[in-house]
């Protein structure tokens, strides 16, 4: 078994090296890009848009992308988003039941996105230029704070947890002046795994939060658009 593991790791290293240093054109021989990105998603759940909640959630992040074949590139992206969430606790949070919808929480979410992008099949674009679609795997961790009433103090973290999602992105990349890379994209993801709450003690409040945060994130990932600006080298 140990030998098998060693062989697997060895193959993985060799395979990765071949992919990373393969003779592919990229853009004029440039294959790697680092970029900053910003995204926007409609806030479908918060239909009354009561402040501090907003009609749109904004995200921002940075990433790296590397061309591994003529039409394929792989990327890794870290994204952070703050979403203001109105919770309607009904009867589950008895202590603050009378407050109802007046409670708002901020979900600070970190997204680690691994993507494999391919330039579209129907056209002969060469990565990293032109229209593309990418298949993504997203690892999300989130922290939930009381963002309005500060009942338990300013920095009291109600809840933290993690989840995993898969998604698709459609975008278009432009090269500006042979070095800058501009990208606009639209993406959608579906949360497939709900991680066990990190500090779940079985209370109804935490269960409810767990459900609500997941649904909030799903709301965010239904559809979101991003623009990125990167440097190609």
């Amino acid at each position: 078994m140990r030998t098998l593991k060693i062989l697997l790791v060895f193959n993985l290293i060799i395979g990765s090296s071949f992919i990373l240093f393969a003779q592919v054109p990229g853009y004029m021989g440039k294959r790697t890009s680092v970029y900053i990105t910003s995204g926007i998603a409609p806030n479908f759940l918060n239909i009354d848009f009561v402040p501090p909640s907003t009609p749109f959630d904004i995200s921002y992040g940075l990433g790296i992308d590397h061309v591994v074949a003529k039409k394929i590139s792989v990327g890794l992206e870290y994204r952070r988003l703050n979403s203001f969430v109105p919770f309607d606790f009904d009867n589950t949070f008895e202590e603050v039941e009378n407050k109802g919808r007046d409670y708002y929480y901020a979900s600070k979410t970190n997204v680690l996105k691994f993507s494999v992008a391919s330039t579209t099949f129907k056209s002969d674009y060469l990565a990293p230029v032109g229209k593309y679609f990418s298949a993504n795997v997203l690892f999300l961790t989130y922290n939930v704070y009381d963002a309005k009433n500060h009942i338990f103090g300013d920095n009291y973290r109600f809840y933290r947890g993690g989840t995993m999602a898969t998604g698709l992105t459609f975008g278009n990349k432009y090269i500006l002046g042979d070095r800058l890379i501009f990208d606009y994209s639209i993406s959608s993801a579906y949360i497939i795994v709900d991680f066990e709450p990190a500090n779940s003690d079985g209370s109804s409040l935490r269960r409810e939060m767990f459900k609500s945060v997941n649904s909030r994130l799903q709301n965010y990932f239904i559809i979101n658009g991003s623009v990125s600006l990167g440097y190609l080298f």
């Binding site: 054109p25 021989g29 056209s123 032109g130 229209k131 090269i175 500006l176 042979d178």
Partner: protein
């Protein structure tokens, strides 16, 4: 008056001082190579069409009506690009022997005209008899016309005629009148531009032609040229569909003691020339007879004048060059009948001319390549008139084997007469075709004279009826019948074992084929033992024989050492928007062209490919050599495409070899971009609307974007050709469903470069 005297004086001085030095050049017609430009390249050849358009557009007076201003703008746009296309096609030459002579005739005529500016004459290498004037003062005369004219005075009349077109700005008038008429019809007929409208445009042309004849003749009659030449010039135009000569063609030209062709290959009677039945109803030009009548109505003036004023020698030299050029151009255009007939006629006048013999050898060789690749034109003889029909008929009758043997025989005849490297190489290549048809190579041929019985048999095949009387289908030996390669495929029975009933033609064809197949084996009898012939054959074998298996293979198109440097030819760029009335987006196309040229240079350097770029944009006014090289390479590219890259012995073989040595490369790359916007049909919208109804709400944005967005496709292509074999080394085509973007184009060009680089590395 003083101005006119000064004009005359300067012309006379010019003719006296420069005449001999300009026209008295020695040209080696035995080693004739195409006419080329010299001196400093005129601005017209190097400046951009867009720039020319804007310059000319600025000249439009603002006092004119808005509609006329707009139409003039359109005209300047279209004409600037159309003329530039011609000037940069590689077929127009400047300051060559003929051009200098033509310009001196114009210099002589100029004082008799009331033109403000002396027009410049350029020569177009074309076998059509034509001349025309641009609105910018350029007169273009084809070599095909000069080859057919008989005197300088005829040429002078043609130039006078064209100068009137320039003076009266006929081209722009016709354009505007056509547009105005078309727009009127558009309103009346609901957008249907009928044939009548087209024909009415032709009437405008005819009016202008009559005007040009009349005023041109008025100018001409003021000169010292004899007026009788005007009628002769019209006669030349009338006969312009005929070859420049009408020498009787004898088939024995293609025969030897041991190579005899059956009578059925020979056309005994040629049909009547078509020009005698001409009708100008559907022509843009009036009937020649009507034009002659119009001139004679004015009355011929000075009929005792001169036929030659500037220089008779220069005219004869220009005519001779044009006729030699005719042979070359016909070969370039794979017009074998014209090429062979023109060379045949010239050989009667210049019997020991190596160039003409070589041209015929090349034509026969290319014909046999065409027969192999089935490129030959059907019913070739029907297109020609006069004695040339005989050649068309004969070449049509020839089959692959016949053509291979004939070309080798003729090459050897040329080779034995002129010990020349080019002809020797051609002979070696001819053996390739022989080897393809006779698998034993030279061993298939007999070392004995062609028996009289076979000759008689071949000469007896005159009609199918005679054959049928003496023979029947049962006489055809089954074994021989299986030798089906000599029978055209349509006459082969559909299935093995089932025979279709034979027709007279089938029997005749078969008997001719089988007798001829036998006869062909005696074709080389006279010289098969000749050491030169045998040596040439043995040298040719490695050209196309696989080293390992000894099989015959196609030419090797891999990059060799001469592929270290790549020549990139002027790229192609087209931008088409099918939604517009004028689909060709000329300015955008030229802009893309300039971008692409820079990208090719940049990407080749980035990919570390040693390269030379030959593009109009990069050619300086003093770099006339590059301009000539580009012209010749453009001709070769056209020829290469015509033969589908299967002709290793192009018309300009020696010239190309010199170019290859000069540029230190045997590989020419052509890149290009075509950007196309498709017109959406009603069906397209209907389909999308149906989809919108059928599909769920979520898909509506996609359907909507489909309806709104343009259907655009951009194609990037690259082809790397081998100058030595004419074959394709590597090629690529990329289709992108979007508009042409600089970054995508650059990325694609760079990838093409990597492909070329890979081909280079593979060979190391």
């Amino acid at each position: 008056m003083i101005k006119r005297i000064t004009k005359h004086f300067s012309v006379l001085l010019f003719l006296l001082v420069c005449g001999n030095t300009l026209f008295g050049q020695e040209i080696d017609f035995n080693n004739y190579s195409t006419i080329t430009s010299s001196g400093t390249l005129p601005d017209e050849f190097s400046s951009s069409s867009t720039k020319k358009y804007y310059t000319r557009k600025d000249r439009i007076s603002k006092k004119e009506a808005r509609k006329i201003r707009k139409l003039k703008g359109e005209f300047y746009l279209e004409s600037a690009f159309a003329i530039d296309d011609l000037l940069k096609s590689g077929r127009v030459v400047y300051n060559d022997t003929i051009g200098r002579y033509l310009n001196s005739i114009v210099a002589y005529l100029y004082p008799f005209t009331d033109l403000e500016k002396q027009p410049t004459v350029y020569v177009i290498k074309s076998n059509y008899a034509n001349a025309f004037a641009t609105d910018d003062g350029q007169l273009l005369v084809t070599t095909g016309l000069i080859a057919r004219l008989n005197t300088e005075a005829e040429l002078a009349f043609v130039l006078c005629h064209e100068m009137v077109h320039f003076k009266k700005k006929h081209s722009i008038d016709i354009f505007i009148q056509k547009k105005v008429r078309t727009s009127k019809d558009y309103g009346e007929n609901g957008g249907y531009e009928s044939t009548l409208t087209f024909l009415s445009n032709a009437v405008y042309s005819k009016e202008k032609e009559f005007e040009a004849d009349k005023l041109g003749y008025a100018t001409f009659s003021r000169t010292k040229y004899s007026s009788k030449n005007v009628l002769q010039a019209f006669e030349v135009l009338r006969r312009s569909s005929l070859p420049f000569d009408s020498t009787f063609f004898d088939i024995s030209f293609f025969e030897t003691k041991n190579l005899v062709w059956p009578k059925s290959y020979i056309l005994s009677k040629v049909s009547k020339p078509r020009f005698e039945e001409e009708d100008d109803k559907n022509s843009t030009h009036p009937n020649i007879s009507k034009r002659v009548l119009a001139i004679t109505e004015i009355g011929l003036g000075n009929t005792i004048g001169e036929d030659f004023i500037v220089s008779e020698d220069a005219f004869l030299l220009s005519k001779k060059i044009s006729q030699f050029e005719f042979c070359r151009l016909a070969l370039l255009n794979a017009d074998f009948s014209s090429c062979i007939y023109a060379s045949y006629c010239l050989l009667k006048r210049y019997p020991d001319n190596k160039f003409l013999m070589t041209v015929i050898s090349k034509a026969l060789y290319s014909l046999s390549r065409s027969k192999k690749n089935r490129h030959e034109k059907e019913s070739d003889d029907k297109r020609f008139e006069g004695e040339q029909q005989k050649i068309g008929f004969f070449l049509n009758k020839l089959r692959e084997k016949d053509a291979a043997v004939l070309s080798t025989d003729f090459c050897w005849r040329t080779c034995s007469k002129y010990d020349d490297k080019e002809v020797n190489t051609l002979l070696q290549h001819s053996f390739y075709n022989v080897s393809l048809n006779f698998y034993e190579g030279l061993d298939a041929f007999y070392n004995a004279p062609l028996p009289d019985s076979i000759i008689n048999e071949l000469k007896d095949f005159t009609s199918g009826e005679t054959i049928l009387k003496d023979t029947s289908t049962s006489l055809i030996p089954k074994k021989t019948f299986l030798h089906v390669d000599l029978i055209t495929p349509k006459r082969i029975p559909n299935e093995i074992g089932i025979r279709k009933p034979f027709e007279k033609e089938d029997v005749e064809d078969f008997l001719v084929s089988s007798t001829l197949a036998n006869a062909l084996k005696y074709a080389f009898a006279e010289y098969i033992t000749d050491t030169g012939f045998a040596n040439s054959y043995s040298r040719s074998v490695p050209l196309f024989t696989s080293k390992k298996k000894g099989q015959i293979v196609e030419y090797n198109n891999r990059l060799d050492d001469s592929g270290k440097n790549i020549v990139f030819l002027s790229p192609l760029s087209l931008s088409i928007d099918a939604r517009k009335n004028k689909p060709l987006r000329l300015i955008a196309g030229e802009r893309d062209l300039f971008t692409l040229t820079s990208q090719i240079d940049f990407c080749a350097s980035a990919a570390k490919i040693s390269h030379t770029i030959l593009a109009e944009k990069n050619i300086g006014q003093k770099d006339i050599n590059s301009f000539n090289t580009l012209s010749i390479l453009k001709d070769w590219i056209g020829e290469s495409f015509m033969y589908e890259h299967q002709n290793p012995f192009p018309a300009d073989y020696s010239l190309l070899k010199n170019i290859s040595d000069t540029l230190n490369s045997s590989y020419v790359c052509l890149m290009g971009t075509v950007s196309f916007v498709e017109k959406k049909t009603e069906d397209y919208y209907q389909e999308n609307l149906v989809l919108g109804v059928v599909l769920p709400l979520v898909s509506w944005p996609f359907v909507l974007s489909n309806i709104i967005s343009k259907n655009q496709v951009t194609a990037h292509f690259m082809i790397l050709l081998d100058l030595k074999t004419g074959g394709v080394v590597t090629k690529d085509l990329r289709l992108i469903k979007a508009k042409n973007r600089k970054d995508v184009s650059k990325s694609t060009v760079y990838d093409f470069m990597l492909k070329i680089k890979k081909a280079q590395l593979e060979n190391q």
